[in-house]
Each structure stands twice: as C-alpha cells, then as structure tokens.
C-alpha cells in the first residue's frame, strides 16, 4: 500500500508532538480509541482565556501512519482557531488533505472525535469554573 506524500511528511516530521498539563483549566484533553483496536489518540488544546483562541495543540498517537498523520494535521489546523471554529473541522477535510484511502477513513474519524473530546473537556472545565471566575 502506498502512502500519500502528505501522510509520509507528517509521519516523518510529526507536528506538535507532546503533552500539556491536563490539570490546567485552560487545557482540554481528548483521548479516543482503544489499544486492542490498534489506535489511541490523545489530543490536547490550550485556549487563551482572553481571546478564546487555541494557542497550543499537542498530540500523541498509537496507531498506523495514517492515524499519526491525521492527528498531526489536526493539531496544525487547531492552532489559531476559536473553540467553536475547531468543532467545524470534519473528518472528510482530513481525508481530502491527506488523500487517505477508504480503509484509512476511520483514522480521520478518530481525529475528529479526538478534537471534539478535547473541546468538550475544555468546555466542561470552563463550565465548572465559571461561578468562581466571575468573582475573580
């Protein structure tokens, strides 16, 4: 099976690998997939509290080259977007950008799920914090 040049590029030079502090109230963490299925993605975003814009995005992925590339691409796209813009990223955008073959579409679905999970986590944290931060 041949990989597209873009998949190869992300695999060889993955962008934004790493981890952010899970406990930071401005960090949202999404972890999707399962080891027995052969792929687990962890995606994190750090949101600027003043502008509401994602200033940092990091990932770590256990999975095939297409899964690594999908999550690497997702972190690139997330940076600079607002939280709501981030939710507009669709798996089909990832499929098109990376020219993923049909058997690898689930990798892009996983990346979309990871984005949603990270944003949901961030929003939950903010929601829990709101009453306190009003007084701050």
């Amino acid at each position: 099976m041949a990989y597209s040049n873009k998949v190869l590029d992300h695999y060889n030079n993955p962008r934004n690998v790493g981890s952010l502090d899970k406990k930071d109230p401005h960090v949202g963490t999404g972890m999707v997939g399962a080891p027995e299925c052969g792929d687990v993605m962890k995606l994190q975003v750090k949101v600027d509290p003043v502008t509401g814009i994602i200033e940092e995005a990091k990932f770590k992925t256990f999975g095939c080259g297409s899964a690594i590339a999908s999550s690497s691409l997702a972190t690139e796209w997330l940076k600079g977007k607002t939280v709501d813009q981030a939710l507009e990223i669709k798996n089909t955008d990832i499929v098109n950008e990376l020219a993923l073959p049909p058997v690898k579409i689930h990798c892009s679905v996983l990346a979309e799920d990871a984005i949603k999970a990270a944003i949901t986590d961030y929003k939950t944290k903010q929601g829990e914090k709101k009453p306190e931060s009003v007084t701050a």
Binding site: Y11, P14, P35, C37, M41, F62, G65, D113
Partner: protein
C-alpha cells in the same frame, strides 16, 4: 550492503541460483512431458522427475513412491484433508486440528464441516504449543485424522509432532502435518516423527513458487486418498495433471541443497536470529517474544514492541521487508489470529513484527536491521500516549477506553 533488505522469508524465499541453474534446461531444451512413454523427450523429463522425487524423499526419510507432486502446500493440505475425509468416510467423520494452523488447513476444515464432518480446533498454550492432554481428550472413536502443523508460519514454534502422532496412532487415526515451514529448515523424519501425510512447498526453501509435494505413507499403515483432481491419473492416481517438470526439478534440487547444508545453515541462522533478538531486548524495554523460543525454527523471530503499532513501525523501517500481525496490515483488518490464540491480547498482536531470516542474509544486514528497529521503536514510543501512560504508572488494562 544493498537496500532494501529482505527478511520476510516465511512469506517466500528467493530461488537459490543453484536451483535456478538446475531448472533452466527443462524450460527449452528438455521440455518433454514426463508422461510421454514412447520417445526420448518424455524419458528425459521422467528421469528428471524421478531424480527429484528421490531428492524430496531423502530429505524427509521417505521412500520415492511416497511423494506426490502438487502445485504447492495449499493443494497438498487440501488433498490430504479432503482426500482422507472422503476415503475414510465409513470409518469416521472427525478431524482434529489446531487454532493456529495456516488458512489452507482451517478453511479446508470449514469446508469439510459444511459437508457434515466434525472438526475440533484445539487451542494452544501461551507458548504456542498444543497441549497433549487436550489432544488426548479430544480423540474419539470417530477421529480419522489429526492435522497439526510442524512449524508455525508466524511464530515459528515447532509442535511436538512425534508425541502427537503417537496419540493419533493409539486411537487408530492418521496423522497429517503441514510441514511447509519446517522441511529444509529443521530435520523432518517421517519415520521418527510418525508422520502419515506431510505437506511440502518449494518456495519456502529457496525453490520456485507453484510446486510442492504431499508425502503419503505406503506402509504401516498404507494411507489411501481420494483424488481431488480428475484427469489422466498422474502421480499414481492421486493427483492428475501434467507434471510441472521444471518446478519439480527445482524442488528436488532445493531439497538436496537443504539436506547437505542444514546443519551449518541452521547454526548460522540461529546465531543471527539470537543476535537480533538480544539487540532488541537489551536496547528496548517491554519487548515480548511471541511463542516459545526453545522449540522454534532457527530463523524465526516474532516479537511485539509494546505501545507501538505494527504498521507504523513497518512504515519507519521501509527499507526492510518484514511483516506484522497488526490489523492494519491485513486484508481483513483483524489482528493476527495466531497471536490472538496465544492469549496475549489484541494490543500485542497489533504491535508484532515477524522477522524471517534466510541463507542469503548477512550479519551486516542483521546489525543494520537491529539498529534501525531500535531507532524507530524509540521514536514511535515518544509519539505513543500508551507509552507515556505506562511510564506514569497507569495500568492500561484498567483504563476505560472510548472504543470506536
């Protein structure tokens, strides 16, 4: 050293130049049909086939007349199982095999089940071997055949065939072994091992693709088969079809070379295999060998690199040809059923790599492969959320995964 490096020799091997040389005259100059009885073209071809028959027989301690040439091990397995099932239908209707057999056995058994036969698929222990007590317990008066492979094509483990055949015989059943991965690599002796039928393939031992053999015992007991291919009655009626003379000559020569070189070759290959294994196990943590290392083909290493997915590893070592039990590398998108049968968990199947060395691999290549695999596994673990969690002391088996 030339790249890419081929280390997938359980899939297939290159034809040995000596084998190729032996085959070449039979394509053009001496092209006769071995069944042509009334001219020299036929006689020359027949002589070549009979010489090859002896070479194959000698390698496994058989008699010439016990070798039936086929198109390969898949056909041999089909002929053995279906041929016995049909021939001995009045005696019984039960076959015992193992969960880790090749698909050519498992799918043939499934076909036979549809036709009304009963098949027991023995589980294997975590070391990949069949439990002899479980085999004994599975035997019934209706058992006509036990079919257990000699060496496994993924994990290279050698089943205790001599003990298995004894158990089969005690209950009056025949013993077939798919010896595709073993013949030419480890000593296979149909007498000592008590084998009644054995499947052999040329292209796993430096011969050409498309040719193989089935050993069919002629004495104590005399095994009979119902032919699965109708036609001119070649191969003593067991396998009709014009003989593949060039292929058969290649198989014979491959057997002769294997018999001559096996003692030294297996020593050299197990040295190289162990060197690779030690390199990977000393420089990386959480590396697991799949299947017993004691009872194993000398050139096989099947190993799982925890927290790293197999296909992504193959991608990083793209100048090395090996294979993985990962779902992403299989057509079915299921992880290796052989590794799953060991009970190690799907995650380790996804992380497995099979190395299969050959007589043409050099120590320099093995060193290169060892270094490259270590480098790529380390890189991928830096990327792996599972490795990070494990290092933080999280028990991954206790995590609630959001499965998809």
């Amino acid at each position: 050293m030339k790249l890419p490096i081929y280390m997938d020799n359980h899939a297939t091997t290159p034809v040995d130049p000596r084998v190729f040389k032996a085959m070449t005259p039979y394509f053009t100059d001496t092209f006769g049909n071995a069944a042509s009885r009334n001219h020299s073209f036929g006689w020359v071809a027949e002589d070549a086939v009979e010489k090859a028959r002896k070479q194959v027989a000698d390698l496994i301690g058989a008699n010439n007349k016990e070798i039936v040439f086929t198109s390969g091990a898949t056909e041999s397995n089909n002929l053995a199982l279906k041929g016995v099932a049909e021939m001995y239908a009045e005696k019984g209707n039960h076959i015992i095999t193992a969960a880790t057999e090749h698909k050519a056995i498992l799918d043939t058994c499934k076909r036979l089940e549809k036709e009304g036969l009963k098949v027991t698929y023995l589980p294997v222990e975590t070391n990949g071997l069949v439990d002899l007590d479980k085999l004994r317990a599975a035997m019934t008066d209706k058992t006509i055949l036990v079919s257990i492979m000699y060496a496994n094509n993924e994990i290279g483990v050698l089943q205790p065939v001599a003990e298995i055949s004894k158990i089969a015989k005690e209950r009056g059943a025949l013993f077939h072994t798919d010896a595709t991965q073993a013949v030419g690599k480890v000593p296979v002796d149909v007498i000592k091992d008590g084998i009644d039928l054995a499947s052999i393939s040329a292209h796993k031992m430096y011969g050409p693709k498309g040719v193989g053999a089935l050993y069919v015992r002629r004495r104590n007991p005399r095994v009979q088969l119902t032919a699965q291919m109708d036609g001119g009655g070649h191969e003593r009626g067991m396998r009709s079809g014009t003989l593949n003379v060039t292929g058969i000559v290649g198989l014979g020569e491959a057997c002769a070379i294997a018999q001559r070189d096996m003692p030294e070759e297996s020593k050299r290959l197990s040295y190289l295999r162990d060197k690779l294994k030690n390199k990977l196990m000393t420089e990386l943590d959480e590396v697991y060998i799949n299947g017993t290392i004691e009872h194993r083909l000398p050139h096989n290493l099947n190993i799982s690199f925890a927290y790293v997915e197999g296909e992504s590893l193959l991608m990083g070592i793209n100048d090395i040809a090996v294979s993985s039990g990962s779902a992403c590398t299989s057509a079915t998108l299921e992880p290796s059923y052989v590794l799953k049968a060991l009970g190690a968990g799907d995650d380790l199947a996804h992380s497995s790599i099979r190395f299969g060395l050959s007589r043409f691999n050099t120590e320099e290549e093995v060193d290169y492969v060892g270094n490259k695999v270590v480098e790529v596994v380390q890189k991928l673990r830096e990327l792996s959320p599972l490795y990070e969690m494990a290092k933080e002391g999280i028990d991954l088996s206790k995590v609630q995964w959001a499965a998809h």
